[in-house]
């Protein structure tokens, strides 16, 4: 709450309302904080406990304390290093694609009026509404399929040997699918941001002889800093735990080429039913996610929480 020096209201009321406010403030925040705390602490505590025992669903009667063995096995799992690297590659590439193409496409849409702009806009944001499992199935069966997929037909049309996308470029294919889902989100946001750009300022710059590229670089982009930060933040949260797309298309393979950490944990938990190791993996993933979050907040957090 900001109290400017020029405030004219009587100081007594000010403090009174402030006091009431603070009390109410905590009273109102507490349900959500409590709920989230419960949501975090209860499973986390159970996960912590599971991570220190040998707990395999296929023989649950043989639980015994094993200390850090689960962590050791998870960290030395042959899939761990590729998994961690793939997670970063996946998040990084999708962010890059959605920001760069998001900016370009929304700039194109806002460049001038053209026929059917409303329909184009609706078409562009549609993939955002599609269920992740559905979009993965869709891409796998109808687009990427090396025999009867659309891309195979295009390749054949140009006389080239069809590419088996999911086997030969698994991570790239996953990045394509995920980008297809999240690019619309970026377009949606950046488009709105551009509409709010001060037209007079743009006109003034044009009159001063600035070309469209200079205007874009010096005027539009700085204006977009904050929406871009929002895109990066929100997408990172969702992208770190991408799972359905990998599960449905490549199952993390071939080898570990498209395994990310979320999938690796899934692999332990539901293919090997090793709850102990999966719990250890979950905790490690939380640590990694929080490091990523800290880095992000350092980089862009200021423009997120502060008002311009």
């Amino acid at each position: 709450m900001t109290t400017s020096a020029l405030d004219t209201s009587p100081p007594a009321t000010q403090t009174k309302s402030r006091k009431r406010g603070l009390k109410i403030g905590w009273f109102l925040v507490s349900p959500s904080v409590l709920l989230l705390l419960l949501w975090m602490v209860v499973p986390l505590a159970m996960t912590l406990y599971f991570s220190t025992i040998r707990y395999n669903l296929l023989y649950p009667d043989e639980e015994s304390f094993v200390g850090l063995e689960n962590f050791e096995y998870f960290l030395t799992d042959p899939g761990f290093m590729p998994g961690a690297l793939n997670t970063l590659t996946l998040v990084g590439s999708v962010l890059l694609i959605s920001v760069v193409f998001g900016v370009l496409i929304s700039a194109l849409l806002e460049a001038c009026e053209f026929w059917g702009r409303g329909i184009v806009r609706v078409m562009l944001i549609s993939p955002f509404f599609i269920m992740p499992t559905v979009s993965a199935l869709l891409w796998k069966n109808l687009i990427f399929h090396p025999v009867s997929g659309i891309l195979a037909a295009v390749w054949k049309f140009f006389g080239a040997q069809p590419v088996d996308w999911l086997a030969q470029h698994p991570l790239f294919s996953i990045i394509m699918i995920v980008s297809w889902q999240w690019l619309p989100f970026a377009i949606l946001l950046l488009m709105t941001a551009m509409q709010s750009l001060d037209q007079e300022q743009k006109e003034a710059a044009r009159l001063e002889g600035a070309g469209p590229i200079a205007i874009f670089w010096h005027l539009t982009l700085p204006h977009l800093a904050r929406p871009i930060a929002v895109v990066v933040m929100i997408e990172t949260i969702f992208l770190l735990s991408i799972f359905a797309e990998i599960f449905t298309t490549t199952s993390g393979g071939p080898g570990f080429e498209s395994t990310n950490l979320a999938y690796l944990i899934y692999n332990q938990a539901l293919l090997q039913f090793d709850v102990g190791m999966a719990s250890a993996g979950g905790l490690i993933a939380v640590v990694i996610a929080n490091i990523a979050a800290l880095v992000l907040i350092r980089l862009i957090g200021k423009s997120l929480t502060d008002k311009q």
Binding site: M1, S17, L36, P43, M46, I105, L124, F129, M131, A269
Partner: protein, 277 residues
């Protein structure tokens, strides 16, 4: 030399073509899915892919025959709306106090809330499954509603918070000086002003609930199963299934897609996170 007007219309034509091309490419998979849903299974697998064919409704009839679409859809609707309502009920007061009675800890609390979203769901499946089991909440809508509320709460609070931040404090101060209670202040002053933002927040929450596929698959069996579970029941490693899968996917996505189309302007406003003024 082109006149200025000709130049403008040429530019508009070029931009229009480029935009339509890109939109066509991005929209194509959805279009293709809908198209495939009207093919026979053999035609769906044909090479080269067929654009012209005799449409058939057999896939939709098969789905209607095999599973009760409306029961799944009803579950989806109920769960999404209830979770969204519950989420707003908790989030609005929290966002109100964070936006208007900011303390040193507010920003930390906000970021902490967001970080709760980073726990990979698979990692906590077992604990949650055991909790649900001991509360007798396996295959119940209530369990999904509570879980969806909790996983969306951080984002919803944050959105509402940024939206409230845009409202001048003076308006609330004025109401307070007039002797309004906190409840009146929120319901009579704040909510009407923030109506647009709240609506779009709810819309985003609806989309996220509708499309959530991990918890809904793992915690429900039949009574509470939403559309994501219906889609899962048509994917199979044995037997031809592409056209049916396309049909069921179309059915599962259509309601939320249409809702999204109708309300895209609203959605945009809420998604701006206060980034757009």
């Amino acid at each position: 030399m082109l006149t200025l007007k000709q130049k403008r219309s040429l530019q508009s034509l070029l931009v229009g073509c480029a935009a339509w091309l890109i939109a066509g490419l991005i929209f194509f998979p959805i279009f293709w899915m809908v198209l495939t849903s009207f093919k026979t299974e053999l035609a769906a697998f044909a090479t080269p892919p067929q654009f012209i064919f005799t449409p058939t409704l057999e896939n939709y009839l098969h789905i209607n025959d095999r599973s009760d679409y409306f029961s799944y859809a009803w579950n989806s609707v109920l769960i999404s709306f209830a979770a969204t309502a519950l989420c707003m009920l908790v989030a609005v007061p929290a966002a109100y106090s964070m936006a208007f009675f900011e303390t040193k800890r507010t920003k930390g609390t906000l970021l902490w809330m967001l970080s709760t979203k980073m726990l990979p769901p698979v990692g906590v499946l077992m604990p949650i499954y055991l909790i649900c089991k001991s509360l007798g909440m396996l295959d119940s809508r209530l369990a999904l509603i509570v879980i969806y509320t909790l996983i969306n709460l951080p984002i919803v609070i944050w959105m509402v918070y940024t939206y409230f931040k845009d409202i001048p404090v003076d308006i609330l101060e004025a109401a307070r000086l007039d002797g309004a209670t906190t409840l009146q202040e929120i319901s009579r002053v704040l909510l009407p002003i923030a109506r647009g933002g709240l609506a779009s927040t709810m819309l985003l929450s609806l989309i996220l609930c509708w499309n959530e596929a991990f918890w809904s698959l793992n915690l429900t069996s039949s009574a509470a199963a939403p559309l994501t579970a219906l889609v899962a029941s048509y994917s199979s490693p044995e037997g031809l299934f592409w056209a049916k899968l396309s049909a069921v996917s179309t059915l599962a996505c259509a309601p939320i897609l249409i809702l999204g189309w109708i309300s895209q302007k609203q959605l945009v406003r809420g998604l701006s996170f206060g980034a757009v003024k």
